[in-house]
Symmetry: C2
Subunit: 156 residues, 2 copies
């Protein structure tokens, strides 16, 4: 009797100093394909998504020294930052996680169809796990270009 899996892998997030530099390796050496990029100046970071043979690699870059992403890189160096699962019934699963004693951080509603949160590394063997629904990475929905200012699906 196995429990229903929480969701499917959406992407692997990697903290880098410079997306422009890092993409030389992920695109040029490993053969990933650029999907889109996006800036969140209010949170101090930008990111770009690349499809590596069906696995989405997200490169995250700090936009300033106040950014949590800058602090992460100062403390840990470049590297793995988080893994994200697409969880259609996010709100219900978050309630279940909390009920079972899992620490859940950073709950946020992006749109009525898109809700997210993070499982604290303290509850998940040091791995920051983002769970959420309606991510553009997964849906590839061009509607996101209307919903999210600055999002450019499949364009450099």
């Amino acid at each position: 009797m196995s429990k229903q899996p929480i969701g499917k892998l959406d992407h692997i997030g990697i903290a880098v100093k410079s997306i422009a530099e890092a993409r030389k390796f992920w695109e040029g050496t490993l053969g990933a394909t650029f999907m889109y990029d996006y800036e969140r100046p209010e949170a101090g970071f930008r990111f770009a998504e690349f499809d590596l043979n069906g696995t989405i690699i997200e490169l995250l870059e700090p936009m300033n020294e106040e950014s949590f992403m800058h602090k992460f890189i100062v403390e840990h160096g470049e590297g793995f930052h988080h893994v994200t699962f697409d969880v259609p019934d996010t709100r219900e699963r978050i309630a279940e996680l909390k009920a079972s004693g899992v620490r859940v951080l950073g709950e946020k509603e992006h749109s009525p169809a898109s809700y997210e949160a993070f499982i604290s590394p303290r509850s998940s063997n040091g791995v920051l796990i983002q769970i959420g629904s309606g991510y553009p990475t997964l849906s590839g929905d061009p509607e996101w270009e209307k919903i999210v200012p600055g999002l450019r699906i499949g364009k450099k």
Copy 2:
């Protein structure tokens, strides 16, 4: 004109102090399904593979204090350790990687059909990348039980 992707995601490796403890979260909370476990006493670690809705999570545990896995956890704590891509033509791709200046470590032949190596985090934005072919995680080939002593596919 895009480059051929190097391979498909095989698994995500996570360093933990205790597989017995960690699986409570990955199985019990996230709903992953146990696939198999395996010990490599000569290298000082054991690991167990879990299928989380199509993504394989590998939990790695040190078997003694001399293990590189023990040193990793002392230095970094539990958490993400490596990501592995299944690369059918591993030897050729390793030669290409080296020719393009990428640092490649730990080349090893497990069997004529199974060859692996690691891309140094120095070349890949801090992310340890294992590349190889013929992994039992991917093939689920029962032949592995004959080839690899101690491997128990799908059994607890």
